[in-house]
Structures are given as structure tokens and as C-alpha cells.
């Protein structure tokens, strides 16, 4: 059997309610019974005495005129009252004048002397003097049975049960409903205890008035040794702790107040304190309720983030320095190779045969390709490193500018292009310009062998997203290689067919990803390609 202490609080409360209700009802029943018994005896005594008085009044004449027969006649009707077991009339000298005895009952006393009105076991003896004016002319004696107390209790028992059981049945649901309210403070307390954050209440004097389990854990001290002591004792900076709750009293609350709890074993816990005043129902300030949030882990994480960011910044700076070097130092030798190859071709033309001249030419082409490659790689790395703006960008205008540049670079080409209306997106102008330079440049490049080249830049809108696309009728590509398109240094065409180094689409993808968009390409060999990108509008 479970011990009482192990029972759930609701069950305990129900048991307590039922027990107290039962006790109260039983007590009430006993009191009612006792009172009823008293009232019953009073009533009985009153009734029987009244009857005795009536008899006495009637007996005056009988006694005065010494007429026991008439007295007897007066007594006979008592047979109608089953409670009365005996009656008698005595003369003043105590001699029996007239008597009545219920069959089966003891006779009235033979002498009327020394009789007193009283209750005895289950009967009441009434005595009434027969008065004629000031003169007593006799005594009336009446004996009546009273209902035994036990009989009354047993009779009332049923009534008590009838009252008690419905009362208890009524009490039970009421008790159940009230329990929630009663159990609420207990529930609140359990919530406070369940908090993993150290919670304390502090009196206006700065004395701890209550703590929860988490506080005990954080300090390593028992509840008893914490309560009643100064709140500021448990921090590495007691002055700062004191200032914190003084601030609460001054302005009503503090938020994220940094303090460090010192455990008795020396362990330190960084916490942020959030505290406010708590008041009673009359809005009198009772103290400060303070909740500490353990931020040791957070601080560690922040430290970690700071370190990582630092490392990243260092790496970025190194990368920048590297790019800078690449930009300067890699190109300079290339320029030298190209320049001196040219010088050689010019100055020593007579000493070189056509073979030699063609080698020099190939050296120069190679250096120029490498120059482009370096430029593109720098662009790609810059795309990742550079700061981004978020502004409204008119892609249509940008595209028109790019087409103009392309046209200028190859004035001999006739390319039909179309730019759709309202091509507006949000992003970094410089980066999006790079996207268009690469995509339109690709289209320009891959339509070179097309007799009627056509390039289109527009947008398709559905469900609130807009997908921009650059469509050409150039050489296209096999969709089997579609996933390779955006990888850096991936090419689907040989450099001999079309110049390029495979960095352009990788750069496009990186820029679009940085904007939160997506890229994809559709193509059919010989029928052109379409490159799509989405941007937040």
C-alpha cells in the first residue's frame, strides 16, 4: 500500500476534504442529536407536566369534596395516552387518593410523600401540587415513558446517513473543482523549482527570502544556508550585485544584468540577471524576483565565434593580399613574355622563319589566355569577398549597357537583341552587372557561328517570383552536361571552338547565390541555350 505522503497532491486534497466534511457532518449530527435529546426531554417534561397540571386542576374539587371516585374517573382517560404508565393523586398527608396503572406497568408509589419530579431510566416522573388558592389540597403524580436515547439515535441515524451521503457526494465534485485553484500555488512552486535558471527572491534589504533548486546547484549551498543571507555574497563582484537590486528598486526592473556566481567549490558561472519587483495584492513591494540565466555556454560560444571571425578575417586579409599579389605579380611576367615575344618577332623578323614566328604567336596567345584566366579568377574571388549592397537595380538598363560594350568590342558583328520591359530586381549593381556581362557575353560568344544571331533578356513571373533569363540561338549544349555548367573551370566547348576558361558561369552562380537566388540552364545542341536566374524582387 502506498504511503499517504506518496499520494498525488490532488488525491491528498480530496481525502482531506472528504475527511473534514465527514467529521464536520458527524460532529453536526452528534450536536443535533444531543440538542434534540435535550429538546425532546424538555418537551416531554413540559407535556407531561402540563398534563399533570390539568389533572391537578381537575382534582381540586375531587380532593376538596373528598371524592376519590371522581378523581378515579379523571384518571381513567389517561389510558388513551400510551406514554403514561402510571398516575396517582395523593392527599396532602401523602395517602393515596386515586391511582391509575397501565396494564403491565408498576403501580404508582403507595405514599405521595418525598416524591420529586425527575427523569429516570427512560421515564419521566411529573409531580404537580393541587392548589386551592394558597392551600395545597393534594398532589398529582404522573409517570410517562420516554423514548430511549439509543432508539432515537438509531432513528436519526438513517436521517443522518440520508443527509451525510448526498452532502459528501455533493462535496466531492466541488472539492475536485476547487483543488485546481488550491493546487495552483503548489503548481506554481513546482514550476519555479523546475526552472533550470537560478531564481531568488530578495527582500528590500537585499536578504535572500527564497531560492529554487537551480540556485542551490549554482552556489553549492543548501536552501537553509542561502535564505536569510545577503544576496550579493554569492557573486565575484558583490558591489555590482548590490547595485543590480538597488537598480530594480529604483526603476522596477533590470534586464540582462551581467554577474558571475561563485560556487563554493570555486566554479564560476556567468549569468545575466533579469529581475523585477513583486508586490502583494495591495501593490506593496515585497521584494525583488530575480532570475539568472546561465550564459557561460553562450559566452563560450560567443568567444568561439569571435575567434572564428578573427581567423576568418585574417584568412580573408591573406586571401586579399594573395589576390593583390596575383593581380600584380602574375600579370607582370605575362606581360613581359608577351611583350618580348612581340619584340622578338619585330626586331628579329629576318632571323626567324615562319615556324619560329608562329611559335612566338602561340606564346603570345597563351599568355593572353592566362591573362584572362587571372582576371576571371580575381573576379570570382572578389565576388565572394566583396561587400554587398541591396538596392533597386534596373537590369534592363544594365543589359543595354553590356550589349553596347559587346558591340563596341566586336563592331563587325550583327547580333539582334531584345530586352524585356520592367526588369527590376534588388541587389548589388556591380555584381549583377557582372552577371549580365558573363551571361550576355556567353550568348554573344556562342552565337558567333550563327548566321542570324539572336539574344533575348527577359523575365518570367509566376507566383510572385520572377525568373530572369538570357536566351540565345547559339550552339547550345547537351542537357546531359547541364549540372557541369556552373562548376568553375568546367567547359563544354573546346577553347579552339570558343574562347573561355569556365569561370564565367561559376561567377554568375556565386553572385546569384549570394543574392539568395537560384540559377539553371536549358539547352539543345545546335538550337541555343537559355540561362535562368531568380532574384528577390
Amino acid at each position: 500500500m502506498r504511503k499517504l505522503a506518496d499520494l498525488p497532491i490532488r488525491t491528498k486534497l480530496t481525502l482531506i476534504t472528504l475527511l473534514t466534511s465527514t467529521i464536520a457532518l458527524l460532529l453536526a449530527s452528534v450536536i443535533i442529536l444531543a440538542y434534540d435529546n435535550y429538546a425532546y426531554r424538555e418537551r416531554k417534561a413540559g407535556e407531561i407536566s402540563a398534563q399533570a397540571r390539568i389533572l391537578a386542576a381537575r382534582m381540586i374539587a375531587s380532593l376538596e369534596f373528598n371524592d376519590p371516585q371522581s378523581a378515579q374517573e379523571y384518571l381513567e382517560p389517561l389510558a388513551a395516552n400510551p406514554e403514561i404508565t402510571a398516575a396517582a393523586v395523593y392527599k396532602p398527608n401523602g395517602s393515596l387518593f386515586a391511582g391509575y396503572t397501565r396494564p403491565g406497568s408498576p403501580s404508582p408509589p403507595a405514599s405521595g410523600e418525598h416524591l420529586v419530579q425527575h427523569f429516570e431510566k427512560n421515564q419521566f416522573i411529573a409531580l404537580e401540587p393541587v392548589q386551592q388558592g394558597q392551600r395545597q389540597v393534594g398532589n398529582v403524580y404522573l409517570r410517562a415513558t420516554t423514548e430511549p436515547l439509543l432508539m432515537r439515535i438509531s432513528r436519526y441515524g438513517g436521517i443522518i446517513l440520508l443527509v451525510t451521503i448526498p452532502s459528501l457526494l455533493l462535496t466531492l465534485p466541488i472539492a475536485m473543482r476547487l483543488h485546481y485553484a488550491i493546487a495552483n500555488p503548489v503548481y506554481a512552486r513546482s514550476l519555479i523549482e523546475a526552472s533550470l535558471d537560478p531564481l531568488v527572491t530578495i527582500s528590500p534589504e537585499g536578504i535572500i527570502t527564497d531560492v529554487n533548486e537551480a540556485t542551490i546547484k549554482a552556489t553549492g549551498l543548501s536552501r537553509e544556508s542561502l535564505i536569510g543571507t545577503d544576496f550579493s555574497n554569492y557573486f565575484t563582484e558583490p558591489e555590482k550585485a548590490r547595485a543590480s537590486y538597488q537598480e530594480v528598486f529604483a526603476q522596477g526592473f533590470v534586464t540582462d544584468y551581467p554577474l558571475t556566481i561563485r560556487h563554493v567549490n570555486g566554479t564560476l558561472t556567468d549569468v545575466l540577471y533579469n529581475a523585477s519587483l513583486y508586490k502583494d495584492e495591495n501593490f506593496t513591494v515585497l521584494g525583488v524576483f530575480a532570475a539568472a540565466r546561465d550564459v557561460t555556454a553562450q559566452n563560450k560560444a560567443q568567444e568561439e565565434i569571435r575567434n572564428r571571425t578573427n581567423e576568418l578575417q585574417i584568412a580573408n586579409r591573406e586571401l586579399e593580399a594573395f589576390s593583390y599579389s596575383v593581380s600584380h605579380d602574375l600579370r607582370a611576367p605575362l606581360r613581359a613574355i608577351d611583350g618580348f615575344s612581340q619584340a622578338l618577332a619585330e626586331d628579329y623578323a629576318d632571323k626567324l622563319d615562319d615556324h619560329g614566328k608562329s611559335y612566338l604567336n602561340r606564346i603570345r596567345l597563351a599568355t593572353q589566355r592566362m591573362g584572362h584566366l587571372i582576371d576571371d579568377m580575381l573576379t570570382l574571388s572578389r565576388v565572394t569577398r566583396s561587400e554587398m549592397d541591396h538596392e533597386k537595380v534596373d537590369l534592363g538598363t544594365l543589359a543595354a549597357e553590356v550589349f553596347e560594350e559587346l558591340q563596341r568590342s566586336e563592331p563587325g558583328r550583327q547580333v539582334k537583341y531584345r530586352i524585356g520591359p520592367d526588369l527590376v530586381a534588388t541587389g548589388d549593381t556591380r555584381l549583377l552587372r557582372q552577371v549580365l556581362v558573363n551571361l550576355l557575353g556567353n550568348a554573344w560568344k556562342y552565337t558567333a557561328k550563327q548566321p542570324h544571331p539572336r539574344i533575348e533578356f527577359d523575365v518570367s513571373r509566376n507566383n510572385g517570383t520572377q525568373e530572369f533569363f538570357v536566351r540565345d540561338n547559339g550552339v547550345g549544349f547537351d542537357m546531359a552536361y547541364a549540372e557541369k555548367l556552373f562548376g568553375p573551370f568546367q567547359r563544354l566547348h573546346s577553347a579552339a571552338e570558343f574562347p573561355g576558361n569556365g569561370v564565367g558561369l561559376a561567377t554568375v552562380q556565386r553572385i546569384i547565390h549570394r543574392h539568395g537566388g537560384e540559377t539553371r540552364g536549358m539547352g539543345t545542341p545546335g538550337q541555343g541555350a537559355t540561362f535562368y536566374f531568380t532574384l528577390p524582387s
Binding site: 376538596e64 371522581s70 388558592g133
Partner: protein, 186 residues
């Protein structure tokens, strides 16, 4: 008074065995009757006009022959009727509206019981008499001896004539009650 009791005593002494019991019975009979005589007053209501004042005594008159002698005086000496003391008056004759509240009709040659009753009829007087020889000459209360005990009859109609009310407690002890016309006690 002494003289009047003497013949009966003489008679009692004359016939021995019977005389003893009779003499005893006679003495006892009139002692009882004397007590009854005033006790009747306890159960009778007189009209207020019958008394001069609230403290006026109740006059108990013996008219004519007196069978009680000093027994009566002794019996009533310390008694009261509803707060009034009792005065015993012995009269030869009575007039109409006599100063009597209870009147024992002894009777004499000067005024016979019938004449006495006739004289006070209509006056607020409770007339008491021994068992009448003649039925027409009844008092309001008439003593009778039954089973060797003093009992009485009540003529409530006569009481009504005299403006008296007789308590039912008294009536219930009577052997016979002649009811008044109104069929009520008071």
C-alpha cells in the same frame, strides 16, 4: 345551637348499637357538610353586585335550625374564598336580598325551608339544603347521603335564576345536575 343538637344526641344514646354508628355518622356528616358548605363557595361565581366591595367577606348564613354548631366556625376560621374572608351568620329568618352569599336552609317554624327558598329566589344567594322532603322545595345544592358518604345534587337552573355560575368542576362531582335552560355553565 347546643340545644338544637341535643335531641339527636339523646336519640343516639337511646338505641345502643345503631346509636353509636349513627351518632358517629351524624357528627361526621355535619363536619363534612360544614366543610362542603364553604367549599361550594370556591366553585361559584357571584355577580359583582353581590359584594359591597372587592374586600367584602363572604357571608355564610344558617337560617333557622343550625345542625353544625361550632364545628362550622372552626372549619371556616382560617379559610378564604377567592381572597375574601368568611363570616358565619346565624339567622332566624331571611328577607329578600339578604346579606348572605351562601345560605344553609335549616328552616324553622317561623320560616319553613320552602318559604326561605321562595324568599331568596332571584337573589344572588347560593342556597344549600339537606335532602328535601318535598321535591319542589329544592335548594341550588342539596346534600344527599349515598353509600354512607356525603354527596350532593346541583340545580343549575335554580343557580341561574339567582344569577350564579357554578363551576363544572363542582358539577362533575354532583350525583345529579339539573341543567339550566341555556345549556351552559356560566
Amino acid at each position: 345551637m347546643h340545644n338544637s343538637s341535643l335531641p339527636k344526641a339523646t336519640f343516639a344514646v337511646a338505641s345502643m348499637a345503631l346509636a353509636l354508628t349513627t351518632a358517629y355518622a351524624q357528627i361526621d356528616e355535619y363536619a363534612v357538610k360544614a366543610a362542603f358548605l364553604y367549599k361550594f363557595g370556591l366553585f361559584v361565581e357571584w355577580p359583582s353586585s353581590a359584594f359591597a366591595s372587592p374586600s367584602s367577606p363572604v357571608n355564610l348564613c344558617i337560617v333557622g335550625e343550625d345542625p353544625f354548631g361550632e364545628t362550622l366556625d372552626r372549619v371556616v376560621a382560617d379559610e378564604q374564598i377567592k381572597g375574601r374572608s368568611i363570616v358565619v351568620r346565624r339567622l332566624k329568618t331571611v328577607e329578600r336580598n339578604p346579606a348572605c352569599h351562601i345560605l344553609y336552609v335549616g328552616g324553622s317554624e317561623q320560616q319553613s325551608p320552602a318559604e326561605i327558598l321562595e324568599t331568596v329566589r332571584g337573589s344572588p344567594v347560593l342556597t344549600v339544603a339537606d335532602a328535601p322532603h318535598n321535591k319542589s322545595e329544592t335548594a341550588i345544592i342539596n346534600f344527599v347521603i349515598e353509600d354512607n358518604r356525603v354527596r350532593f345534587n346541583i340545580d343549575d337552573a335554580a343557580a341561574a335564576q339567582n344569577g350564579l355560575a357554578i363551576s363544572s368542576k363542582l358539577s362533575s362531582l354532583a350525583l345529579n345536575v339539573k341543567l339550566r335552560a341555556t345549556n351552559g355553565d356560566e
